[in-house]
Symmetry: C2
Subunit: 509 residues, 2 copies
Amino acid sequence: MVTKTNHDIEEAFLNYVKKMTSFEEAIGLMFWDLRTGAPKKGVEQRSEVIGMLSSEVFDMSVSGQMKEYLDQLSKPGTFESLSEITKKTVKECKKEYERNIKIPADEYREYVILRSKAESVWEEAKEKSDFQMFQPYLEKLVDFNKKFVEYWGYKDNKYNTLLDMFEPGVTVEQIDKVFAQLRERIVPLVQMVVNADDKPETGFLFKNFPADKQRDFSMYVLGQMGYDFNAGRLDKTVHPFAIGLNPGDVRVTTKYDEKDFRTAVFGTIHEGGHALYEQNISTDLVGTPLATGTSMGIHESQSLFWENFVGRNESFWKKNYEALKEYADGQFDDVNMEDFYRSINVAGPSLIRIEADEMTYPLHIMVRYEIEKGLINGEIEVKDLPDIWNEKMEEYLGIRPENDAEGVLQDVHWSGGSFGYFPSYALGYIYAAQIKNAMDKDIPNFDELLEEGDLKPVKNWLNDKIHQYGKLKEPIEILKDVTGEGLNAQYLIDYLEEKYKRVYRLETE
Amino acid sequence: MVTKTNHDIEEAFLNYVKKMTSFEEAIGLMFWDLRTGAPKKGVEQRSEVIGMLSSEVFDMSVSGQMKEYLDQLSKPGTFESLSEITKKTVKECKKEYERNIKIPADEYREYVILRSKAESVWEEAKEKSDFQMFQPYLEKLVDFNKKFVEYWGYKDNKYNTLLDMFEPGVTVEQIDKVFAQLRERIVPLVQMVVNADDKPETGFLFKNFPADKQRDFSMYVLGQMGYDFNAGRLDKTVHPFAIGLNPGDVRVTTKYDEKDFRTAVFGTIHEGGHALYEQNISTDLVGTPLATGTSMGIHESQSLFWENFVGRNESFWKKNYEALKEYADGQFDDVNMEDFYRSINVAGPSLIRIEADEMTYPLHIMVRYEIEKGLINGEIEVKDLPDIWNEKMEEYLGIRPENDAEGVLQDVHWSGGSFGYFPSYALGYIYAAQIKNAMDKDIPNFDELLEEGDLKPVKNWLNDKIHQYGKLKEPIEILKDVTGEGLNAQYLIDYLEEKYKRVYRLETE
């Protein structure tokens, strides 16, 4: 009998994992295609194909073969001999294996069916603004997640286990602390803005900007950001996203509102930020589960960095406002740079998260975080959600939804069983401000570069410090290596206070 | 122990096959994407993914599991109890199994590598017009195919085994007969056209027709044909094709030559003909290997039916010429209908198959057929191909290539190991004429319908007689059921003689 060497096992394991990532790449392309123009009569059959391939990947993640590889490669003596990439791949597969194997197959199947029903019920309930219609499904979804937490186990707080799926290393304790900090400073800032005498004009934003010109301008901005069109493309969709199929094929999607160009332009910059991350992951990681962003939060830090710290920056528009005017249909001919800059940074309380400005956005997230945490820990009941939601909105933002469609029913996440995801959005924002602060030390002429349209040093810095590593480093590790510290909301607070006093012409204290 | 019933086995088999077709659908989408705008830096990795999934399908086709299903379901008593669809699926899988299992795995792997090398060598050789560069690869490819024929076995003629892969049921004996018939009548027809005094004017064809207007007109024509845009889409590519991913998603691609609109318009009609076939296959067949055209020849009969019998028909342009004028940029303003009709039917000897007109096209195929047959039967040697090619071109078409790029090196097929494919093109053409003759009995007002732009009865007739069956019927069975007879070249000859005497204003004999 031929004895297999460690090297043989490592190679066989990597091939096995490569097959899984190949299936995932095929699924990714099918997903992109469904969202960018697949003929509707083929959708049902295509969904079955996606389901078939997804099951295949799931089965491979919990197979006897996988267990054997993980056991063999985890042995003391063996593990140490593996390459760094294999080590981390083993860890990721093990985490996935343990998460998936602990849920009884029957229950998981039931949960998958529930989710798909719940999504369509949610859609109808939202349309009718009828929470009671969705309530029984949401109750079951919460119950499943609570049960899963029991299967998986938890430390300190049940919600930590769900957080770990999206932002490993971040805990309720940390989030409570930074969210409290943010709340303490942003809530009064919102009030100052509401009471400001000199608010930005915005009427000129809502004229007609032809869609094809918006596309051309979006391409121009993506180009300036250093997005590589030989490794990606820009397409139209209904709910914009970016998707990395492999580092050589990272696609951006956007949508065009002819009455409000901001949707496309800031949406494209946001998705472009995600795309720059995926395009610049080291090709050494291709074929492993490491060839993607390290967490939802770090990913969001990249999109928000570009959208807010670059795209809503005055210097960026000093470079690009003339170009925008050329692409636009005369809309800005009589608008000076200062008025334009203020208009794209208009802020204030609003009901819908995805339409919120950069100042109030974290408050929307806090509402959801507190509700999720309460649900999972059994301190809040689903039936009370509409009231709780409305009260929290009033408390944080000073406004109250008139119905559940613009309140508790507005987001898709819960209908798909995603609990623990929302905090990533705010964490990403906090990270982005921390990263910007670190970048300022290496690139003190950041604003000058923006004014010159030379964003290459900014992109290269992010490539070097963050992007290349993919999932090889944990989010907290990235943050530490880049900024020298852990989660810290102060930078975001400083940024918002300084910026909005300028935009709203408030006296400095 | 639980005994599995026949029904259980049938169900398990169908699920197994469904998985194979799911993988194939994913591969199909990746192929389409590569040809319509996938970013070039992702191509290498995407090719690996396609390779991975293709191996998976191949492995499943020859697995022990497949053999077990086939053995169990083929048992007397069991087989008879199966549904018609399962019976035919078993037969198809068995054919595939036996074909694939007979080739030693090592040899097949070597062949796959050779093909991929040969394709890139061919590309370079064609560019340099250097046959000797390609010769050693072609020799090996021919040797492999000869060896495969030995493994697979053959009846009467070795080439029959290769024909069977593309056009099951058609033999060398039959093809020799119909090709001789065609040759006897087309060769003198070509001479008549060459010597005609009153040739069509064509100068006005080569002005400027903007690509986006060509696209709009192509969409308009596809719509008239009954192509369902909710079950497909039209995209731009370099080498146009149609692809059926499932009957609800059948995509057409085309290319735009602004100096010659015929490329896009007739190309789109041609691919649209393929697409109508795939869109109208019964959905009962989805998930089995039967949900596709029954053979290359029958498929080509559909594309050529629409391209030539509809698209190059005078009545079709009586309806559509005014529309074309509107889409065009003034190009046809001074051209009357008669001159236009004659111009798009200009014919005569030419060197390149894919640019040949409908009259000379079959002669191009005959040259290739005779060479392939000779190679596989050991009567021709690869080294002699350039001379043989040129002699045959002279004999059939009266012209001689000046170099191998426009001669023996022009087609990609051989570099990919495809021998036995070419005859399908001419067979499809013969079928198309037979089908048109059968249709005339049911739809005697064919020309009137074209003049009215009412192509629905034509499409429905094809749906009903051919498309719905997919691969459930053999090609010869389809032909027999539709036309009441076997392969018969007379209808094509009659069509060409009648049409070209009209177009070239030759006296009727």
